[in-house]
């Protein structure tokens, strides 16, 4: 069936990069399935409105659940979008062997992920309801929680990206930055999907 060849033992960085890119895309596929499931949960419970408890009316003990504006979630998507563009700026720097552009882009992209994370946590803390107050409130925290988880992961990745850029580790190849760009794109899309869902109350 086969014959032996004399392939070099070590692989070209582009081959490794291509494989790693596919791996990240496949993991994103799993994350997409989860994000779409969250949208399904949101619209299913909204559509069912079981016992009129999607947005419960006020009782003697508990105030009425007032939905939040979807603008907060949209701001998260916009911040993510800026982060994505900045990472792209860094990627262009890496391709052009411009170390200053690479480092600057990676640093500000990291800063955007931290700003997004802090803002998302602030939104969750200042929501005018608790997660016990009906199906909408539960779903709101689920979507916000996914955003926060994504942003925390992005902050970790972006910090590593910036540090590696700073140390000059992308001088010979830049597939790490390209892969991180794929993640940023999904992060932005995911935040936008969350904002889209929350615009239906």
């Amino acid at each position: 069936m086969s014959q032996e060849t004399t392939h070099a033992h070590h692989e070209h960085p582009d081959v490794v990069g291509s494989r790693n890119r596919l791996g990240v895309i496949l993991i994103i596929v799993a994350d997409v399935a989860m994000a779409l499931s969250i949208l399904f949960v949101y619209f299913y419970l909204k559509g069912q409105n079981v016992n009129n408890m999607w947005l419960p009316a006020a009782t003697e003990e508990v105030p009425e659940t007032v939905p939040v504006s979807s603008m907060g979630a949209l701001y998260i998507a916009i911040i993510s979008g800026f982060g994505m563009l900045l990472n792209r700026y860094a990627l262009q720097g890496a391709k052009a062997k411009n170390q200053a552009q690479l480092t600057l882009g990676a640093m500000i992209a990291f800063a955007m992920s931290v700003i997004g994370l802090v803002y998302q946590i602030q939104q969750m803390n200042s929501a005018p309801f608790t997660m016990r107050m009906g199906a909408y409130a539960s779903c709101y925290y689920l979507i916000a929680g996914l955003n926060a988880l994504h942003l925390a992961l992005t902050a970790f990745i972006s910090l590593g990206n910036w540090n590696r850029a700073r140390l000059g580790l992308y001088k010979t190849d830049h597939w790490h930055v390209e892969i991180i760009q794929v993640w940023w794109i999904w992060m932005t899309v995911s935040a936008a999907l969350g904002a889209f869902a929350l615009s239906f109350t």
Binding site: L22, V50, Y141, L159
Partner: protein, 624 residues
């Protein structure tokens, strides 16, 4: 079982990275237990007490879940899973020597107890872990069957019986999911495609150790009130169950992460790392079975993961995803669960059938009958399996108008399944049969899967399901598919690849005795179960009407025969591994690449990578 190479640079990396060398399974368990206790104590002190005004009391579940999260974090830190990511973050990538250390170079048996990245070590780790999981699940099965030996049940408390049924169910499902892709997908698959390792060796080790980390939470549920819901953990029943459900939730969440990681890794490996010349038409059919399985699992398990995260939130945070009093819905859970639950059946079956289709040409000395039909059958099953989930919900009252369409899609899936039968029968037809245990397993699969498949058609039929749902008929049906077909394929795989994995032949006489005992016992046990199910005996009950006694006695007797057969197989595996006849490099005279490398397999599999020039089934021209 792999050879090791000279450790020329060990002094260097010892000085640089002592932490990597210190971490192993013992530090993982140690740190896991310590963090679990710390989290438990802190949570008990810091979380405010539940008040009478709260509709749902959550503190106990918060404490249990936090302790389990502590266990998980401690275990993963203790095994060394976080070293790679943090070294990447710091810009201090692992050196070649450190990567070789991770691959288990020169570590001997110690590498089986570490975060070892060599795919062959991971394969062996999966094999042993799967056997332990089946051992635990099997003991629970025998407890169930022994209790059902008489109509009054009685010697197991009903609550304990419920817990045993629930844990048996979920642990066996997980065992069957990993039983082929874990051991053989890891050990054999990269060699079979002509690769030196998996695409992401550290993720490979991660997927295995996540499963180890998941086992203590599920076993802890025995001591936390058990799993009272059966393996499906339907809501809102699960939210009202004791804290044992927290063990289930944690188990599923960790396992789902493992499955996602493994799915991405295996798919990337096959897509990107096949040997030069291995076109898709020359790729062995077993690879298709494995890739189809993980490709199905990749989008399916995140849905299951989410369903359990929401269960955890309902229990511990008071959210109302599934609680109708707060606007939630039990049907939501059922949808999310079965969106995973039915593709999961094929996640289990496809690698088993793929493995047997791989063996059929070897033991008939004929080409695989219609390779393209086999691929189309696998693809058809993958596509349709995502469109059948609601046949599990006919009687729940969810969307009655959709019953018809779901009945249709479910029955349509018999067509691609039939294509796989056709390929197997066509390959056997007029073949020069070499009657080995793997060969006999093909016949066993054809029979068992035919029974499981045809009874599945009855259950997919809405009127018939009205009478049969919730009975022992359903239990017998899915055991025929998952055990009769899936486990038969796994045991055949063990027998077939045992020589390559261990360097020894599996004891021929004992494996034949085991094969016949398991197959006869299995058919006796589950035919008896079909009969009592048809007569109306409900499932998940610890006592039953005396009219079902005879069928249950038959089933229990069959179960004891299976157990004896399995114990003989276990003895054969252990004894052959230690003292068996030494195997040649290619004892079956097969043509796939894994048989072209020496046994034991070198650390990097191939000294020089192969170039593939034909398919793996060139045993001569097929004669009709």
């Amino acid at each position: 079982m792999t050879t090791t190479m000279g450790r020329t640079a060990s002094a260097g990396h010892s000085a640089k990275s002592p932490l990597i060398e210190k971490l192993n399974v013992f530090t993982a368990f140690g740190l896991g237990i310590i963090l679990a206790v710390v989290f438990y104590v802190l949570a008990a002190k810091l979380i405010p007490e539940d008040t009478d005004a709260m509709l749902i009391h959550t503190k106990h579940d918060q404490i249990i879940l936090l302790a389990m999260i502590g266990w998980f974090i401690g275990f993963m830190v203790g095994i060394g899973a976080l070293i790679g990511p943090f070294r990447w973050l710091l810009g201090k990538d692992l050196s070649h020597d450190e990567n070789m250390f991770y691959a288990g170079k020169d570590l001997g048996t110690k590498r089986y107890f570490r975060y070892t990245t060599d795919h062959k070590v991971v394969g062996i780790q999966y094999l042993v872990t799967t056997m332990i999981i089946f051992g635990v699940g099997g003991i629970l099965a025998m407890l169930i069957r022994t209790n059902l030996g008489n109509p009054e049940g009685g010697w197991i408390h009903p609550q304990a019986y419920n817990a045993i049924v629930g844990i048996h169910g979920i642990i066996m499902i997980v065992g069957t999911i990993i039983m082929i892709t874990g051991p053989f997908g890891n050990f054999v698959m990269p060699i079979m495609i002509g690769a030196r390792d998996m695409a992401f060796p550290r993720l490979n080790a991660l997927s295995f150790w996540l499963i180890v980390a998941a086992i203590p939470p599920i076993l802890s549920s025995f001591f936390l009130g058990g799993i009272m819901t059966g393996w499906t953990a339907y809501e809102p029943l699960a939210s009202e169950s004791p804290a044992g459900m927290d063990g289930y939730i944690m188990f599923i969440c960790i396992f789902a992460i493992s499955t996602m990681v493994a799915g991405a890794n295996i798919t990337a490996t096959v897509v990107r790392m096949r040997a030069r010349g291995m076109t898709w038409n020359r790729t062995p059919i077993f690879i298709y079975g494995v890739v189809a399985s993980v490709a199905l699992a990749l989008p399916a398990f995140p849905v299951f993961f989410l369903s359990q995260i929401m269960s955890a939130f309902d229990r511990a945070m008071g959210t109302t995803f599934y609680n109708p009093a707060g606007g939630g819905s039990g049907w939501l859970y059922e949808n999310l669960f079965w969106l995973m639950g039915h593709p999961e059946v094929y996640v289990i079956l496809l690698p088993a059938i793929g493995a047997l289709m791989e063996m059929a040409p070897v033991f008939t000395r004929r080409p695989l009958f219609s390779f393209n039909v086999a691929v189309m059958g696998i693809a058809g099953i993958c596509g349709l399996s995502a469109l059948v989930w609601a046949h599990h919900m006919y009687m729940s009252g969810w969307a009655p108008l959709l019953n018809g369409p779901f009945m249709l899609t479910t029955e349509l899936i018999s067509i691609p399944t039939g294509m796989l039968f056709l390929v197997l029968v066509g390959t056997l037809w007029r073949g020069r049969l070499w009657l080995t245990v793997p060969m006999a397993s093909i016949y066993a699969l054809l029979w068992n899967f035919m029974v499981g498949g045809i009874t599945g058609i009855y259950l997919s039929d809405v009127p018939a399901d009205g009478a049969l749902h919730g009975t022992m008929f359903v239990t017998a049906h899915f055991h025929y598919t998952l055990m009769g077909a899936g486990l038969t394929g796994a045991i055949a795989s063990l027998s077939y690849w045992f020589p390559k994995m261990t360097g020894r032949m599996l004891d021929r006489r004992l494996s034949w005795v085991s094969f016949w005992m398991v197959q006869i016992g299995f058919n006796v046990a589950f035919m008896g179960m079909f009969l009592v199910g048809l007569a109306g005996q409900p499932r998940r009950v610890e006592a039953y009407n005396a009219m079902f006694n005879r069928g249950n006695m038959v089933t229990t007797a069959g179960a004891y025969v299976i157990m004896t057969g399995m114990l003989i197989l276990l003895f054969a595996v252990v004894d052959s591994w230690r003292n068996g006849i030494k195997a040649s490099d290619n004892p079956w005279f097969a043509k796939t690449l894994e048989w072209s490398v020496p046994t034991p397999v070198p650390l990097e599999n191939f000294a020089t990578l192969p170039v593939v020039t034909t398919d793996a089934y060139g045993y001569g021209k097929a004669k009709s």
